[in-house]
């Protein structure tokens, strides 16, 4: 599974590299002509493109036990990069972009919600580790990375839908805008509930 994910991370790298050298007239931006004229959108877009890949890349190693147990310093270092990139750069810039997302109010709502939850889960994970609450840290990190991976599922779902149902592009976009991160989050919640069964037992029970 890890290897499969690495391939997708590599593909995301290719997508980001389309914008090097900095260009306003390629790929995603071709259909964002009006938005990209605004300086705040430009800053948000390029911040997101140039930082998000490192978020998904450094996050990838964090769930790997060997690294976590054997190379604590490295885990700490990668974790700092992951959290600070999301909280300071990728997250806020994603939120700005979601306000201008294609697909109307339906898609915008989805992306805004995704950005806020992404920031929230990452922040909670940070607070948890500051308080040395490892279990809580892991739970929030699983949620945070599940949302990070919506970058993969969004494109993967789109590809699958385009090759099967062949829906009109914006109808398809609205579907994947919601399904991509909700699907990931459900998987993460199921995993969390299995790994930490105490969550499912009622706190009032003796």
């Amino acid at each position: 599974m890890g290897a499969g994910l690495l391939i997708f991370i590599y593909l995301l790298l290719l997508i980001s590299l389309q914008y090097i050298p900095l260009r306003n007239d390629v790929a995603f931006l071709i259909l964002k002509e009006n938005e990209i004229k605004n300086i705040h959108y430009q800053i948000a877009f390029f911040t997101h493109v140039y930082t998000s890949w490192f978020v998904i890349f450094f996050g990838f190693f964090q769930f790997w036990k060997t690294l976590r147990k054997g190379y604590k310093k490295l885990h700490l270092c990668f974790g700092y990069i992951y959290i600070s990139l999301i909280l300071c750069l990728a997250g806020p810039s994603g939120l700005v972009m979601s306000v201008y997302a294609n697909g109307g109010l339906i898609a915008k709502t989805s992306f805004i919600l995704l950005s806020i939850l992404w920031l929230y889960f990452t922040y909670k994970a940070y607070i948890a580790i500051r308080e040395k609450n490892f279990a809580l840290h892991e739970k929030y990190m699983l949620r945070s990375y599940a949302l990070t991976l919506s970058a993969v599922s969004l494109r993967l779902f789109k590809m699958i839908l385009a090759n099967t149902l062949q829906l009109p592009p914006m109808d398809m976009y609205k579907i994947v805008a919601w399904s991509s991160w909700i699907f990931n989050l459900i998987i993460a919640e199921i995993y969390i509930r299995r790994k930490f069964p105490e969550l499912t037992t009622s706190p009032t029970a003796p």
């Binding site: 290719l14 997508i15 590299l17 389309q18 789109k158 590809m159 385009a162 592009p169």
Partner: protein, 333 residues
């Protein structure tokens, strides 16, 4: 270390086919047309039609429109001609094209004019002879084009149509054609919409070609054969092609962003069809020929496009390119 990094970067840049369709190219034969039509010999009359029967030679002057069909030499030709193209059940094309025959001048027994068919405009010159009941015209195309030939048609006195044959000078796949044409004048109507009644589905021959990887060394005739077997692909178009008119109003992003590749393609080429553009591209030609109102009168319409149309063409092309590059790929535009 640095070289490894640079090699890696170069490698990454060269792998873009994984995230997008790098071969995506949107064909636009109107804007890319470098051959300028010689409009001096075009006398397409853009005025309403006064239909009266043919009585004297001068009555034949004008535009004649109809189907330019392949000549069936036997019953077998009719039912199982190998030159016909079938694409799935219920769809076939008997290789007919819409033709516009323009008779420009009759002086004594000399006739001259031109024809427009399948993106090809050719002049012709010949003789007219009169009998008690009809006129007979025999006219030749110049002969410097592979598809030049001889028109041979007659017009019965008191009739409203002309009938005849055409025979190619050189050996080509469809050597002889037949036609029955009636008067029709071309008038540009920006409000013209696609008609559902005379609708023929648009077929994407290129998609078939790509999927079955057409061998390069085929002759033209073998290539046709190949198309015949592999053209079972349809471009999906939605009801939007009947609603959106790209000639009357400037389209916005909201109008076009949810359109399929097929919608975009048809809406853009509909602009050209309104101007009477004669399509070289076969799928488009078959599609628009089937429209009752459509007449192929020009092979170059670049100068006829209005400002609104030019803007819409650019917008549609942008979305078509994006759809081709990213719609079914991992990357997104």
């Amino acid at each position: 270390m640095r070289t490894i990094f640079i090699t890696f970067l170069l490698f990454c840049f060269s792998c873009n086919h994984l995230i997008k369709n790098e071969e995506a190219k949107v064909e636009d034969e109107v804007l890319n047309n470098t051959l300028e039509e010689n409009k001096n010999n075009t006398s397409i009359t853009e005025k309403p039609l006064n239909i009266k029967p043919i009585n004297k030679a001068g009555d034949i002057i004008g535009n004649w429109v109809g189907w330019f069909r392949k000549k069936e030499n036997s019953e077998k030709d009719y039912y199982e001609d190998k030159r016909d193209i079938h694409a799935g059940e219920g769809f076939g094309w008997g290789r007919e094209n819409k033709i516009c025959l323009v008779i420009e001048k009759i002086e004594g027994d000399n006739v001259s004019g031109h024809s427009v068919v399948a993106g090809n405009q050719r002049v012709f010159k010949g003789k007219i002879s009169e009998s008690d009941t009809s006129f007979l015209i025999i006219a030749n195309e110049p002969g410097d084009n592979k598809y030049d030939g001889t028109f041979n048609f007659y017009a019965n006195k008191g009739d409203f149509s002309i009938n005849g044959k055409w025979k190619a000078f050189k050996k080509i796949e469809i050597q002889e054609r037949e036609y029955k044409l009636s008067r029709k004048n071309f008038i540009y109507n920006s409000a013209q919409q696609l008609s559902k009644e005379s609708y023929k589905r648009y077929i994407d021959w290129e998609k078939g070609e790509k999927e079955y990887k057409k061998p390069k060394n085929l002759t033209e005739e073998e290539g046709e054969e190949f198309f015949r077997e592999t053209s079972e692909e349809f471009v999906s178009a939605t009801e939007k092609i009947y609603e959106i008119n790209a000639s009357t109003a400037e389209l916005t992003k909201a109008d076009v962003e949810n359109l399929t590749k097929g919608d975009l393609l048809i809406i853009r080429n509909m602009i050209y069809a309104r101007h009477g553009y004669s399509f070289k591209n076969r799928p488009l030609r078959v599609f628009f020929d089937a429209q009752e109102w459509y007449i192929p009168v020009h092979t170059d319409i670049k100068k006829d496009l209005t400002e609104i149309e030019k803007k819409n063409i650019q917008l549609l092309l942008k979305y078509e390119k994006n759809a081709k590059e990213y719609y079914d790929y991992f990357g997104r535009g």
